[in-house]
């Protein structure tokens, strides 16, 4: 059977999406593969299909709990039952059960920190792993935009598992980050499959506003005119909430806000309403979107710019997954980048914090690196030096390299150097995005060039600099302005309808 045959047999599709087939062919050829596929092009199919063809299990490492759950759930919804997720939320009993039944699963999702578990690793060693999948592989690169120290452990884990056939997946990674990924994973000959980051059905547009009020006005006009559904991204929870209520008050209809501060069930409700078309507009922070499969998002607006091109491309990539014309609009107000600079400052421990931590540790006089890690484990460094979670993680990671107790000063200098370098790299990325905002040349060309690619084919609706007609993205017939919140509803009728089919069907 050819690959299309398998695709139809297991998934019911007749055609692959760009990059999927190429990736799967490499894997079936037994080649370690790094695959860069834009969001929404079905990255997970690239490991799911080989699992069925090879009839061997896949171990999938995923950085975010929510992402892991979404993927496991999507596989389950398809009817596949042999799925398990190892993460810190698993109870002791559940974990024990899963470990004892490891050989029965087809898809084994693990968080990177769970791979520190000797038990799990021993269990995995006994399996005939068909595919070792590293999702969001750019997290392994210290110069990537979403570095996760836990990911650095993946190289050693791969080695311990005897270098299983590996698939590293990422949506957006510059060449430098891609070579980082391959080096950290163990350097043994990876084939790269690179799809274009260019999405020709998404028109690009930047609009500059001269005041905050003007920006809000513009947002209101845009969401009233544009054909939905749409997503508006904000850089803080507060602004997302405020804007949502402004839009609601001005009759934009079915609008909701979404951010990480909402209680889990409320978040799930908003996501599902949006996916099912019960909402037309989401005002969100970057927490919204990962793992959400919605084909017909017609526009993505950025009320504030993100921190770098990688995030921007990911976020606008949530539009137009059905291939139809969609729009990405960024609203810019001079000084917007200040907010992002602030985030960058706060993400990393400061020089003073580092010096404080080091002199504290020195005063404890540890005699070995084991003793040092014991101290770090038991002392409340975060509390003493008011480190936030990311700062703490990065600090712990940096301290891991301390081997020689005699030379704290070198380590301290290294740490400060690392932090400075990383800060500089982030500011550089922000600057690139800012240049893109201010450019008067083709925006599409500039994006692809950032990833050192070329555009495939210049679409008619390209970008504001090449000329695009925003009117083409307006609603053709205005919806009746029904205020849903006033609709009468009969609780009893509704409850009966839920449980007893008939009457109105």
């Amino acid at each position: 059977m050819n690959l299309e045959g398998y695709l139809e047999k297991y998934f019911g599709y007749t055609n692959f999406r760009p990059g999927q087939k190429e990736t799967i062919m490499q894997i079936m050829d037994g080649k370690h593969t790094l695959s860069m596929l834009p969001t929404g092009t079905g990255k997970s199919l690239c490991y799911q299909l080989p699992v069925y063809i090879m009839n061997k299990p896949a171990v999938v490492v995923s950085p975010l709990l929510s992402l892991m759950q979404d993927q496991a759930e999507q596989i389950r919804v398809r009817g596949e039952k042999r799925v398990v997720s190892f993460n810190s939320f698993l109870s002791f009993e559940e974990k024990r059960y899963a470990l004892n039944h490891l050989h029965t699963y087809r898809f084994i999702f693990v968080s990177p920190e769970m791979l520190n578990s000797k038990q799990l690793l021993e269990g995995l060693k006994k399996l005939d792993i068909g595919l070792f999948v590293v999702d969001e592989a750019h997290c392994i690169s210290q110069w990537g935009y979403d570095f996760r120290p836990d990911y650095l452990n993946l190289g050693p884990v791969r080695k311990e598992l005897g270098y299983p056939l590996t698939l590293a997946l990422t949506a957006t990674a510059t060449p430098a980050v891609r070579s980082d990924i391959i080096r950290e994973l163990g350097e043994d000959g990876f084939t790269e499959i690179l799809s274009s980051v260019d999405r020709s059905n998404i028109a690009l547009r930047v609009e500059k506003c001269s005041s905050y009020e003007e920006k809000q006005e513009r947002l209101l006009t845009l969401v009233k005119d544009l054909q939905g559904p749409g997503i508006v991204y904000f850089s803080s929870k507060k602004t997302a909430e405020t804007a949502a209520s402004l839009l609601q008050r001005n009759g934009t209809g079915r609008t909701a806000f979404y951010h990480g501060g909402l209680e889990q069930e409320q978040r799930i409700l908003i996501q599902q309403q949006f996916i099912k078309g019960e909402l037309d507009l989401i005002c969100a922070t970057s927490a919204f979107g990962m793992g959400i499969n919605k084909e017909n998002v017609r526009y993505v607006i950025h009320f504030q710019m993100p921190m770098q091109m990688e995030s921007y491309v990911q976020e606008i990539g949530r539009a137009g997954r059905d291939g139809k014309d969609s729009a990405a609009i960024l609203l810019y107000l001079e000084g917007d980048e200040g907010l992002q600079l602030n985030f960058i400052e706060n993400e990393l421990p400061s020089g003073n914090q580092i010096r404080g931590i080091m002199s504290y540790l020195r005063s404890k006089n540890p005699s070995s690196s084991e003793e040092l890690s014991q101290i770090m484990l038991h002392e409340d460094l975060a509390g003493f030096f008011s480190l936030n979670e990311i700062q703490l993680r990065i600090t712990q990671h940096l301290l891991q390299s301390v081997n020689d107790m005699d030379d704290f000063n070198t380590v301290q200098a290294d740490m400060i150097g690392f932090v400075e370098k990383r800060k500089e790299a982030k500011i550089q990325k922000l600057r690139s995005l800012l240049n893109w905002v201010h450019t008067d040349t083709c925006r599409r060309t500039l994006i692809t060039r950032y990833f050192q690619q070329d555009i495939l084919q210049k679409p008619e609706q390209c970008c504001d600099n090449c000329g695009m007609n925003i009117g083409a993205y307006y609603q053709t017939d205005m919806p009746d302005n029904v205020d849903e919140s006033r609709l009468v509803f009969d609780w009893k009728e509704e409850l009966i309808d839920m449980l007893i089919p008939g009457r109105n069907e």
Partner: protein
């Protein structure tokens, strides 16, 4: 008063009468399983608010305190706690006349169970509404795998087929809802997800019913508490719903792990000094555990720690002087008693004082 949550927090401050810090209210709403929080919630008669608003953050609470202070609703006392002022009291009364505290709230006894109950019930109804229409593959509204597994087993363990089970669930829920106000029924049904529509968020319901979001939340919690207590009361009337409460037993109060361990030793006949030695803890910590046990379990035996005459005297001093202040009680006693003994009695008689 801008929201029901504010009114609730002010109510808590009023009940503790400046005898406890703001942290106490914070831990109460969060449902912190510490001896102090558990004891205080009983002492001040606010155990029904225990753990009913776990999403509150310290910053949020502090901002309310600031706002109350600015508006003259509360006043800082020399001990750094807050007392509700006359203005605050009348504002609170006015507000609660319009939006009364939902009557069925019973956080201490029910919150844990209600939480599990809702997760199971909401998923059950969503699942059944798909099954009766032969629709397969949907995104479960509850992500917790253990809840999903539980519902699956529940459905397959029933003797009824899917249609019959749906009808049975409906026939058990309807009479429960009939006993509530229209507003409460509406909120409950709007929160449910089915094959026809996704459930609504508190924020969305608030806008539909023109209420404040936190009031919608507490009314909803109250509906759940009502359902759980009715179902528990008459299990035979609710044969299908009562199974949803299994494993989240009402008797299973939120004991702290450490108290639980202490309890095991005490059951084996050890005195508190011995428990302290073997657990390498202070005796005062073990005493905290014992007070927590007295609060949690009406049948817990306090006789090893105080005789019945002393118990009666302490109780009568506390009741006749209308005080829970340990020092004050101690001064009024004819004989001598330790603070631990007084706390133990207050734990028993707390709600009556």
């Amino acid at each position: 008063m801008d929201s029901f949550l504010e009114a609730l927090i002010l109510t808590c401050l009023q009940k503790v009468k400046g005898e406890r810090s703001v942290s106490g209210t914070y831990h109460l709403l969060k449902g912190k399983k510490s001896s102090q929080t558990i004891q205080d919630s009983h002492l001040f008669g606010i155990s029904r608010f225990f753990g009913i608003y776990p999403v509150i953050s310290r910053e949020e609470l502090d901002s309310f305190i600031q706002k109350f202070t600015d508006r003259g609703f509360i006043q800082k006392l020399p001990n750094n706690n807050y007392a509700v002022t006359g203005t605050g009291m009348s504002e609170l009364d006015d507000y609660l006349k319009k939006f009364p505290i939902p009557v069925h709230l019973n956080g201490w006894a029910i919150q844990n169970t209600a939480d599990v109950f809702w997760r199971r019930l909401s998923l059950l109804i969503q699942t059944l509404s798909h099954l009766v229409r032969k629709k397969k593959g949907f995104y479960p509204i509850q992500k917790d795998i253990s809840v999903q597994k539980w519902i699956k087993q529940y459905i397959s363990a029933q003797k009824l087929d899917r249609q019959e089970l749906s009808a049975a669930i409906l026939s058990e829920i309807l009479p429960l809802l009939e006993q509530l106000s229209t507003r409460e029924r509406e909120i409950f049904v709007l929160r449910l997800s089915s094959s026809m529509r996704t459930g609504h968020t508190y924020d969305q319901i608030a806008r539909m019913l023109d209420l404040d979001e936190t009031y919608v939340y507490f009314l909803f919690v109250s509906v759940l508490h009502f359902m759980v207590s009715r179902i528990n009361w008459e299990k035979n009337v609710h044969p299908h719903l009562s199974i949803l409460l299994e494993g989240s037993d009402l008797a299973e109060k939120p004991l702290t792990q450490s108290t639980h361990t202490t309890y095991q030793y005490i059951l084996n006949g050890m005195d508190k000094e011995a428990v302290a030695r073997i657990r390498n803890l202070k005796v005062s910590t073990i005493e905290d555990h014992i007070v927590e046990l007295a609060l949690t379990d009406a049948r817990f035996d306090t006789s090893p720690y105080l005789n019945s005459e002393l118990e009666k005297e302490i109780a009568s001093v506390a009741i006749s002087n209308q005080t829970r202040k340990l020092k004050e009680i101690k001064e009024h006693l004819t004989g001598s008693a330790s603070y631990f003994q007084i706390r133990l009695v207050l734990a028993r008689y707390g709600e009556k004082i």
